[in-house]
Symmetry: C2
Amino acid sequence: MAASSFALSQAATTLSPSAALAMNLPLIQPNYLLLYPPSPSPFLRPQIHLNSLLTRCHSPAFLAIDAVEKANSGHPGLPMGCAPMGHILYDEVMRYNPKNPYWFNRDRFVLSAGHGCMLHYALLHLAGYDSVKEEDLKQFRQWGSKTPGHPENFETPGIEVTTGPLGQGIANAVGLAVAEKHLAARFNKPDAKIVDHYTYCILGDGCQMEGIANEACSLAGHWGLGKLIAFYDDNHISIDGDTEIAFTESVDRRFEALGWHIVWVKNGNNGYDDIRAAIKEAKAVTDKPTLIKVTTTIGFGSPNKANSYSVHGAALGAKEVDATRQNLGWPYEPFHVPEDVKKHWSRHTAEGAALESEWNVKFGEYEKKYAEDAAELKSIADGVLPNGWEKALPKYTPDIPGDATRNLSQSCLNALAPVLPGLLGGSADLASSNMTLMKMFGDFQKNAPEERNVRFGVREHGMAAICNGIALHSPGFIPYCATFFVFTDYMRGAMRLSALSETRVIYVMTHDSIGLAYKVAVENRKRPSVLALSRQKLPNLPGTSIEGVAKGGYIVSDDSSGNTPDVILIGTGSELEIAVKAADELRKDGKSVRVVSFVSWELFDEQSNEYKESVLPGSVTGRVSIEAGSTFGWERIVGSKGKVIGIDKFGASAPAGKIYKEYGITVEAVIAAAKEVC
Amino acid sequence: MAASSFALSQAATTLSPSAALAMNLPLIQPNYLLLYPPSPSPFLRPQIHLNSLLTRCHSPAFLAIDAVEKANSGHPGLPMGCAPMGHILYDEVMRYNPKNPYWFNRDRFVLSAGHGCMLHYALLHLAGYDSVKEEDLKQFRQWGSKTPGHPENFETPGIEVTTGPLGQGIANAVGLAVAEKHLAARFNKPDAKIVDHYTYCILGDGCQMEGIANEACSLAGHWGLGKLIAFYDDNHISIDGDTEIAFTESVDRRFEALGWHIVWVKNGNNGYDDIRAAIKEAKAVTDKPTLIKVTTTIGFGSPNKANSYSVHGAALGAKEVDATRQNLGWPYEPFHVPEDVKKHWSRHTAEGAALESEWNVKFGEYEKKYAEDAAELKSIADGVLPNGWEKALPKYTPDIPGDATRNLSQSCLNALAPVLPGLLGGSADLASSNMTLMKMFGDFQKNAPEERNVRFGVREHGMAAICNGIALHSPGFIPYCATFFVFTDYMRGAMRLSALSETRVIYVMTHDSIGLAYKVAVENRKRPSVLALSRQKLPNLPGTSIEGVAKGGYIVSDDSSGNTPDVILIGTGSELEIAVKAADELRKDGKSVRVVSFVSWELFDEQSNEYKESVLPGSVTGRVSIEAGSTFGWERIVGSKGKVIGIDKFGASAPAGKIYKEYGITVEAVIAAAKEVC
C-alpha cells in the first residue's frame, strides 16, 4: 500500500492543469502537485496530488464520462463520485481472476445503484476482464452490447447480479454473503479454509430509502454477516434534488440499530487513505456486517454540474466534458487509458491466475482428505446435480389418501434435502403454514450458519432478493422461499428479477402433481418457479402424472373418440377435482368430456404444436376453464366461444366451502357452463 | 383519570378467582385484590387489582376470545395482550362520536396488525358504534357479516382503513396524520382550531419487519408528524415463534434514527398508568411522531398458551377458554358484558354527540368568518366536488403539436389543482420525470405542511399506502402518486388495497386522451386509477375523444360500411399512433379498416353489450391488438382468430426506435398481422 498511498497536502504550486498542458509539462508523474484556484465550492477544485494513483482513479471516471457522452444517455454522476472507492476495491482489495470471472472463491461485488454501471464496466475493463473490451465501452447502451444501461449478470461476465431497481442489489449482496457464510461453516476444516471471500456492495441514497434494503439489512445484522462490506455513497443528491427534501433520517444510527458496524469516510472524493483504513476496520469486525458511509460529491470534478441532480442521469455534454477534463487535469482523448495505468492494472491477470491456481491446489488437497464434503461442495460450485437425485422424489397415486399440497410439498422438500446439497431456504414467518422446514436441519443463524432452514421474518421482498443473491453465488444453489400466494404482491420487484436474471429460485406457494413440480423447478437452472400450494386437502386424482405436469397441460381423462369430445373441462391445481366431478356428471348425461389439468401456461406454450393440438384440438370450441383466481388470460386457452370460471373480485371472510359456493366455483357451475358451450 | 387509575400493589391476599367464585364472593368490586399463587412464568399470574377498571379492560379481551371461539377461527392473542392499551385509547383518550363514525374531526385509529381485529370490533361495540352489535360479534368471520376476519373500512363504520397485509396499516396511519397536519396548517386560524385530531395506531412485530413500514415511518419522522402516536405491541412472538429467530434489531433505536420520539412501557399487560403517562408524553412532543413500545404478552391470561405462537392465530379451545376465565377471574357467559361495564361505556354516546355538536358550532362560526376556506374544507370533508370543476380540464385537438402524455398530465394536474381543493400528491423521487409538480404550490414539509406537493423519496410501496391513508381521511381528498410504470411491481401490495378498500388514488403512470383520463380518475370516488404516461412525444390523433375514453374503448376511425370492416386494429396509449399509420397503409391496399383506441379493459367491460358489439362486432374476427407490453389477456379482446402484438420478454438497452423495431412493435408488423387475419 505504501507505494501508492499519499497524504492530501495543503502545500501546493498554483499551476492549473490547463496551464500545465499549455506549457507542455509532463502531467503524469508521481507527486506532481496541483492546486486549483480558490473556488466558492469545495467540491470542484480539490487540492490533490496528480500522481499515478490519482491518474489511475481518474481513469474509470473518464471512461464512464466518455461512454455516457458517446451514448448520449446514462448516468455519469455516480461513477465520478465513486471512482476512488471502486478503484481501491478492484485494484487493491478484491481477490478475483479476470480471466475466469466464475472462479468459485472470488470476492463478489454488487453495484446496488445499478444506474452507475459505467463505473463497474470501466473497472472490469481496467482489471482485464475479456467481457468488457474498449469496443464494449464504446457500445454502452446499444442494442446487443455487453454494456447495457443497467448491469445484467447474464450479459456480462464479471457482473454478479442484475441491478437497477433500487434496493435489490444490497439485498442480493446479503444473499451472496449468506451463501459464503453458510458454505464456509459447512465445508471449511481446521486445516482447510476452502471457502473464504468477501462480498462488497455500493449503494446510494435511493437504495437506502427503499424498504427492501431495510428488510435485507436487518437480516444481515441478525445473521452477523461479518464478511459483508457495504459502501454507502452518501452524496446527498437523488433525482428530485437534495435528499433534504425527503430523506433526513440518520442512516448511520439506523444501521447501528440493525446490528451493523459503521465507519464514516468524510471525504470520499479523494480520501483514499481513509477508504483504505475503513476497509481494514471493516475486515477486523468479524461478527457484524459493516456499512462504510462514504460522503462523496455526485459528478465530482465537473465544474458546473457536480453536486447537482443534472449530473445524475444525463450526459455531461461536450462542453462540460472538456471543462471536467481541464478541471481534473486529464489531457487524454476519449476512451484513452494511459500506458502506465494499463501497465499498473496488468498485474491482475497474473495475480488472478495465481489466486485461482493456489486455490485449486488447496481444493485438490481438500478433496483427498474430505472426499464426501468435496463432492457436495463441487456440486454446489459447478451446478451439476448429483446422479439419480430425482429418484428421491416421492410418488403419489390415487390410492394414497388426499392431502393438502402444502403437506406434499413438505414431503418433497424433506426427501430432496439429503440428495440436493445446494437446497436451502425458508419462509417469511410462515414456515409452519407453508410447511417449508427441512426436518433434518436446524436454523441458519449467526452462530449456526452451517444449517439450511432460513428464517426470513415477515420480509417477503427482502426474502426473494436474498434468494436471488444465493442463487447467483454458485450455480448449484437451489434456494427456495415461501409465503402465502397473495403476498407475491409484496415481492414482485424481486420475482421479476428472478426471471430476468435467470435465477433458479423456487417460490413455494401450488400443484396437482407436487412431486413433479419440484422436479421441474429443480431442473430449470435458469428460471424461477412458483409452486402455489393448497391449505385444504386434495385427493390424488387418477390420470394425473409426472410426465403430464412437465408439459404444462395434459389430458387427465377423456371418454370421446377421435380427439373430438363435446367439451373440454380445464382445471388447475385444487380446481382439477371440481372439473373431474363435473365431468362425471356430464358423462352421465351422455356428453363426451375431456378433463385437462393445466398447471403452467408457460410450460404448455413451449410444447410442440402437435402436442398442443392433441390436448386442445382447434376443432373443439366447447371449453370451460376453472380456477379459483382471476379469469384474466384464460381466454387464450378457452378461446372466444369458451367459458371461464373464476373470481374477478376480492376475497371474503367465511368458511371455505361457503366461499367456493358464493363465488360460484362449484361442480354445478362447471356443469352449467359446459352445457352452454356444447 | 383519578377515579379509574390505580397502582400495582405487591400487597395482596392469596385468594384465587376460582376460590372466590366458589365462595360466592362478589368478584366485581373496586380494589378487590387478588394474588395468584407463585408461578414460574411471570406472564400468567399477574398481580392485579380486580377492580372495575380491570373488569372493563377484560371485557374487550373476552369478547375477542368468545368470538374467535365461536367462529373457531381468528386471532385471540393480540386482543388479549393489547386490551389495556386499546381500552385506554377508546375509553379515556380518543375523541369520537360513536353515533357518527364519519364525524370529520374525530381521532383516527388504525389496527395495523389487522388480524387482531376482534379487539377493534369489541372496542367499537363497547363504545356504542351501531355497526358492531352483539349479534355482529357473534357473526365474526361469517359470510356477509360486519365483522370479517380482517377489518374492512367499507364493511364496518368505525374501521378507518382495511388492514391485514402487514405494514400497510402503519403506512395508512402516516397518511391519515399527513392529512390532518396538512388541513390544520391550511385551514386553522389563530382564533379557530378547526382541524385538530390525533392518529393512533397499533402495530406488531410483523409490521415492524416489513420494509413498507420503515419507508412510511422514515417519512413520518421527516415530516415531523407530531400527532401520530403509534403503539408497538412488543410481544416477541411472530408466527414462526420467538422473534429471536429473525428479528433482533433494536426497534427503538431504529425509530430514533428515523426521527421519532420513543417511550417504552415495560409492562403493557397491566401497566395502565404507564400507558397513560406514555400517551401524555407523546402528546407533549409536538414536532415528532411518537412510538410507544409496549411490551406485552401475547394471549395474556391464558394459562397454557400465553406467550406462545399457539395463541396467535387459532381459537383457544373450550378448555383453555375456561382456564383463562378462571385465571383472570372472569365469571361471565360468552359475549356477556357486565352491567357496570355497559354503564361505564354508555357515557361515550352523549360525550361523542357533544364533541361533534361543539365542533359544529365552531365550524359554523368559522364559516361565517372565513367563507372561502370553509367552502374548501367542506368540499374535502364531504367529498362533493366543486361545481364546474371539470371545465378546468385542458382540451386537446389534432392541430395541437404532439407531446409526451406525461407533459399533458402535468398540464392537467396544474389546471385541476386550483379547482380541486383535495388534490395533493407527488412522486417517488421522480417528480421531474413523472411531471407531477403543481407549480403554484410548494412542497409539503415539516415546516410547510399547508403545501400540496408531496416528496415521497424512493419509497414506492410506502407512497401508495400513505396515499390510501390520505384518501380515507376524508372523502374529498384526491391523492395522486407517481413513479415509472414498471415500479408498480414495488407497490402492488398497496395498490391492491387501493382497489379493495375503495380509495380514489390516482396512480400517475398513461393515456391517449389525457384530459379525460383525469376526469375519469377524479370522478371514480371509490376506485383507484392508473394513468400510464409516455416519456416520448405523441400526437393528438384525430378521432380521439373524451367521451370515447370514458367508455374504455371506442372507434377512432373506420372506412367500412355496415359495421363490417375487414380488420379491426386495436391500439392502446402510445401504440394508437402505430395502429393509425398501419390503417392508412392498409386502406391504400383496399382493405376496410377500423381503428379502435382501447384505454381501459375494465371500463369497456362495464359498457352495455350493444355498445361493445358496436365497437367490436362479433362477426369481425380479423382483429389485431398492439401494445408495447405483455400480450397477456389481449385474447379476450382479439378472440382466438386475432393476432396480438406485444412484448413477452424483458426490455433491453438501446435507443427507443431501435428497440421498437427489434421487438416488432412497428407499422410493418401490424400490417403483416392484419393481412394474416383478413
